[in-house]
């Protein structure tokens, strides 16, 4: 029996899952930097500034993927049962909180929140809650499709969360570096934090793939991803670009290089890791295989 992977959700959905995660991760990194205080001005502002636009552009990709985009505003009509509706609400609240954060801290009302640390930090905590919810939701969204066992697992939200935090941190490092921040202090610290996140992500993706052994359709998904048609994308795109290369470059930057060299290594690591994060979403989407239908001894693969 040959089981076919789903083809209805394509790269636009992957881009959405990726950008929503990256935005949430960057925001968490930014607000955490803000809590740390002196020296973190640039990365914390970059993080908070990246959140809203990333998630917003991600939503544009999702709307582009809709068959009837004129009805997109109905996406939140049934939060009682539908995870898309719940996610739409979560993401909207996150975008509103981040927009307030950006508007009152950075632009167009500079100073309103800059001098009121308490209010800004409170807003940051609220925002972090919804940023985490946004990152985790991207995994739950797929998980609610129960016939697709490769998605319907508690490991997927965790995998997407760790990848989102990692790509978010890398985005902050990348944009801060482009804006001229030197590779020292906070930027070097974020790069080292990302080393830990990537190591964690390696373990999580290992557990995620291990958890596919239970039913035939998710075993087929794991085989498709690791040895089948999706394998080049998985090994080259995600394992190499998303995990190995950034990990090695960040370790070299941390231990063997100083100054500009370390900065360049961190920037290349960030670009590579961010691309890998996008490819991870696409790999998971392409690996989605529906459960076969069973009647007596027969198992029917859906066409």
């Amino acid at each position: 029996m040959r089981m076919k992977a789903q083809s209805k959700w394509s790269w636009e959905v992957a881009a959405y899952l990726f950008l929503a995660g990256l935005g949430g991760g960057a925001y968490v990194a930014g607000v955490t930097g803000d809590f740390l205080g002196a020296g973190w001005e640039v990365p914390s502002k970059v993080g908070v500034f990246l959140g809203f636009p990333s998630v917003f552009i991600g939503c544009m990709f999702l709307i582009a993927d809709l068959g009837s985009p004129k009805n997109f505003w109905r996406a939140a009509m049934r939060p009682g049962t539908s995870w898309i509706a719940r996610g739409t609400i979560i993401i909207t609240i996150f975008m509103i909180l981040d927009a307030i954060h950006i508007g009152f801290w950075v632009w167009p009302f500079p100073g309103v929140l800059a001098n009121v640390d308490g209010a800004r930090h409170f807003l940051g905590i609220l925002g972090i809650i919804f940023a985490f919810a946004t990152m985790i939701y991207t995994g739950i969204l797929l998980g609610a499709a129960r016939p697709i066992a490769f998605w319907s697992t508690a490991m997927l939200p965790l995998l997407f969360l760790v990848s989102a935090l990692s790509t978010g941190v890398m985005a902050v490092v990348l944009v801060s570096s482009i804006l001229g921040a030197a590779h020292e202090g906070p930027i070097a610290g974020l790069t080292r934090l990302d080393v830990m996140l990537i190591i964690l992500e390696i373990f999580v993706v290992g557990f995620y793939l291990q958890a596919t052994h239970r039913v035939p359709e998710s075993r087929a998904s794991a085989l498709l991803v690791m040895t089948g048609a999706v394998a080049p994308m998985f090994w080259l795109g995600f394992a190499f670009l998303g995990l190995l290369l950034p990990l090695v470059l960040e370790l070299i930057g941390a231990f063997a290089l100083t100054g500009a060299g370390a900065g360049i290594a961190a920037v290349i690591a960030a670009i590579s890791g961010i691309v890998g994060g996008l490819i991870l979403r696409q790999v998971v989407l392409l690996g989605g295989i529906q459960a076969p239908l069973k009647a007596g001894r027969f198992e029917f693969a859906l066409p």
Binding site: S68, R78, P147
Partner: protein, 210 residues
Amino acid sequence: MTRYGFVIDLKRCYGCYTCQVACKAENCTPQGVDWAKCVPAEVGSFPTALRQMLPLVCMQCAEPACMDVCPTGATTQDENGIVQVDKNLCMGCKYCIMACPYGARQVVDDWTTYFPDAEGPLDPYESWAKKEWETRRTGYGIATKCDFCMHRVKVGKQPACVEACPAKARYFGDLDDPESEISILIRRERGFQLNPEFGTDPSCYYLPPR
């Protein structure tokens, strides 16, 4: 209360695909949309190999997974247990396609010709079918599905695939009536639902294969 249901006798089905074609003829579905379809499977190896066909329709589940995940409220269940999609409310997110264990939902972008290598506009029959497709509950970019031919049932006819089945493998009736033909068949011949582990309580029952 009425709960419309199907019984499909796997012993009788020989996989002629008449149900699939009858559905197309009745509902004018475009290429890529098969509300009723037949899926083959094999088990064992020579000399004990067996082949079985599995005819599928929308199961009109009592607990429809597609309705749970629908974010817009376009999916509803009517008083007869039929799961309906409102084409004006659906936004085409395709979440229902992912959530349905039975592959009942399909989405299509356009009504294109069935003739290979055909150029130019659709022929008159296809144009008529395209118009029919567009004026019913259906359309492009939105989720579409079988509704047990409610437009026929309302005027006292059987669903098109049931009427057309030459093997008489398909039965249509009311699950809530214990004396209906399908209720008796389910009781007497050990009717079962496909993949009950998904908890959708389908209204389509199957009689065991040989």
